[in-house]
């Protein structure tokens, strides 16, 4: 008969070898928790890993690089001219003054008018609002008709529209001048509004068509069975479902039209110049001293509208772009 005690110690030795603790002197049987050896549970992560330092470092650097001009603009606009002449463009203002802002808004001279940027601002607003509304309403109906009512020649129509987007503006400038002159709209805000609406049409129609194509066809069929016609389906079904894409279109149009310089300077006259044109005239005026602080303030003022729009609707913008991109 074998010795039971000796046998037991052999078993213990084996267990210890299996658990990879050969130096362990314990003779107690290992409990379940100790038997789980090696990596277990959640993988530990280092916050300051090399990867994180690289990613966040790069991002911070790039962000600073992009924000630097804005910083310079803001601090310069808050300084007086004597301080600017010292030449330290990165130093914060010693004496904060809002006078340049006031001057840029209501006193700066362009040509004979000395009422500042405010005139240009209101001109731009008068151009922007009707242009945005007109172009988006027409383009959304276009896109809806192209996506859901496959009429004869729809493909051809769409192709022509897209090709139109690739023709350089320069080619069309003079013909449009003549056309506007002939209908008596040259030099008026109405003419400019029409021009903006027409030039926004290809990209907006494409945007809306792609978005409406991604709306399930069965929804459209269900509405037809329910007796809704072209306009009822558009207003009652499609539009309420499409807020994100309307926001995207609005952002595109607001920034595009607000930032436009070329059409503004060509199709209007000095009294009706949009803000961008007026900004250029203030900044590039050759008479007198260059007032950098006023120029900076005027530039920030002009950029404020698109900036506000981005801040308000940034989230919807991303969602809308993604939604339109799913199916094309």
């Amino acid at each position: 008969m074998g010795n039971p005690i000796k046998n037991a110690s052999v078993v213990n030795l084996d267990t210890r070898r299996m658990t990879a603790f050969p130096t362990s002197t314990t003779t107690q049987p290992l409990n379940a928790q100790e038997e789980m050896v090696g990596p277990q549970g959640r993988k530990p992560g280092k916050i300051l890993s090399r990867r994180n330092i690289f990613i966040y470092g790069t991002l911070t650097l790039v962000a600073l690089y992009y924000l630097l001009p804005l910083y310079v603009m803001v601090v310069t606009s808050l300084k007086g001219m004597p301080e600017i002449r010292l030449g330290n463009i990165f130093s914060p203002p010693l004496e904060v003054t809002f006078q340049p802002w006031v001057k840029a808004w209501s006193e700066a001279c362009t040509g004979l008018n000395c009422d500042g940027l405010s005139r240009g601002f209101w001109n731009s607003v008068k151009i922007l609002i009707p242009s945005v509304i007109l172009s988006i309403s027409i383009a959304s109906v276009n896109g809806y008709a192209l996506a859901n009512w496959r009429f004869k020649g729809a493909e051809t129509f769409f192709t022509i529209l897209i090709v139109g987007a690739f023709i350089p503006y320069q080619v069309m400038i003079y013909p449009i001048v003549i056309m506007l002159r002939e209908v008596g709209l040259y030099g008026s805000l109405t003419g400019l509004v029409l021009v903006h609406s027409v030039f926004g049409m290809p990209i907006l129609t494409l945007l809306f068509r792609n978005y409406f194509s991604s709306v399930p066809q069965e929804l459209f069929k269900a509405a037809r069975v329910d007796g809704a016609g072209f306009w009822a389906i558009y207003f009652r079904i499609m539009v309420p479902m499409s807020l994100p894409i309307f926001v995207v279109a609005m952002i595109l149009q607001v920034t595009g039209i607000w930032n436009d310089f070329l059409f503004g300077v060509i199709y209007t006259k000095p009294d009706l110049y949009p803000m961008t044109v007026q900004l250029n005239n203030i900044v590039n005026s050759t008479q007198g001293v260059k007032e950098y602080n006023v120029n900076m303030a005027a530039t920030i003022l002009t950029g404020l509208v698109p900036l506000t729009i981005y801040f308000i609707s940034g989230k919807l913008f991303v969602r809308g772009i993604a939604a339109g991109a799913v199916k094309g």
Binding site: E218, L219, D226, G227, M241
Partner: protein, 362 residues
């Protein structure tokens, strides 16, 4: 009685492609017709043509005795249920139900009465104020059915209404649709690719393939007397076993090939005059006899089990009999193992014969 829906010489082309060609179909008053086929067979296309959602290229469509060929979908007296529910996402369930009625210009109290009545029938009253996003799949489909019901249409069209639901819910709603039909007694046309839905719901099934109706008959007849090999293979799960061979043998007709010789006494020929020639023999797994029954069958074969699929209620087994591979149904409580030998029996009155070239039933 006048048919509820009648389709004459219907054809539909997309450019040069003929999707439906000279299709004729009559659906009786209060009938439940199922259009069954694999995807791309034209069943949904046919339904869309009946609904008026696709412009047809030729032929006529009558609904309730009225020629609706050129009518708008909303003027055809139909209600339709879609696979993806197609509920208007920005409206509540009540809004979804009343949308069509508002478009039809019904007075407000009439709309309310109808919506309430429909909600009661479908037991969706607590859901009326919810938006579709806040509903489960089954509730959504119930709301979609409600939208069709509320129109008080003579004809309901269902386009694969249960395909997006999970198996359990599908079975529940299938029963509800059947109950609904028994209660309302409207004409219903139901498109599906699911043979169980087709068999359980239909008064008649139309099996479609390539834009043609291959067989239009009751579920019983489709199962017991499939008109051709495609129908025979399509209906039944696991599908029918087929064997190549010849029909011949003078006075006592036999089906025979290298492995098998089967007397055809008791087989009901479509045309008893000309059954000779190359043919397929089909036999359903559930009609292959096993166990004690098999030893009394007119034809007996020894077979070896290759593979077993236990389902609880039944056990299906793939067996090798001489050179032939076939599926058979065994008792659910049987526990066969691969390699076991079993005896199979075939009853000639429960087999199906199809011509080798035309694949039509003999």
């Amino acid at each position: 009685m006048e048919p509820s829906i009648s389709i004459n010489q219907l054809s539909l082309n997309f450019g040069a492609l003929n999707v439906l060609r000279d299709l004729n179909l009559e659906v009786g008053q209060g009938e439940f017709l199922v259009l069954l086929g694999s995807s791309g067979c034209g069943k949904s296309t046919l339904l869309n043509c009946i609904a008026g959602l696709l412009d047809i290229s030729g032929g006529q469509i009558f609904i309730g005795g009225r020629n609706v060929t050129w009518e708008e979908p909303s003027k055809r007296g139909i209600g339709m249920v879609f696979q993806s529910y197609a509920l208007y996402p920005q409206m509540t369930v009540a809004g979804n139900l009343s949308f069509g009625l508002k478009n039809a210009g019904l007075p407000k109290d009439e709309i309310k009465a109808r919506v309430d009545r429909t909600a009661k029938v479908l037991q969706i009253e607590p859901l009326l104020d919810r938006k579709p996003a806040a509903l489960s799949g089954g509730q959504r489909q119930r709301a979609a059915i409600g939208r069709a019901l509320v129109r008080d249409a003579d004809v309901f069209l269902f386009d694969e209404p249960l395909s997006n639901l999970d198996a359990k819910l599908r079975a529940d709603l299938r029963v509800e649709i059947k109950q609904l039909h028994q209660k309302l007694k409207n004409t219903m046309i139901y498109v599906t690719h699911d043979q169980i839905e087709a068999m359980t719901l239909a008064d008649r099934i139309a099996i479609m393939r390539g834009g043609n109706i291959l067989q239009l008959a009751s579920p019983h007849e489709i199962y017991n007397r499939p008109a051709n090999k495609y129908v025979a293979k399509f209906i039944g799960s696991p599908s029918m076993n087929f064997f190549d061979g010849q029909v011949g043998g003078g006075d006592s007709l036999h089906f025979s090939n290298n492995d098998l010789s089967l007397p055809l006494t008791g087989y009901d020929f479509v045309d008893p005059a000309a059954p000779y020639g190359n043919a397929y023999l089909g036999v359903r797994p559930e009609h292959v006899m096993t166990g004690p029954e098999a030893s009394q069958a007119p034809v007996q074969i020894e077979a070896e089990i290759e593979l077993v699929e236990p389902l609880g209620s039944d056990t299906f087994a793939r067996v090798l009999a001489r050179e032939m591979v076939l599926w058979v149904r065994l008792d659910g409580q049987a526990t066969p193992h691969p390699g076991d030998q079993i005896l199979l029996g075939i009853d000639p009155s429960r087999v199906h014969l199809f011509d080798k070239t035309t694949e039509e039933r003999l």
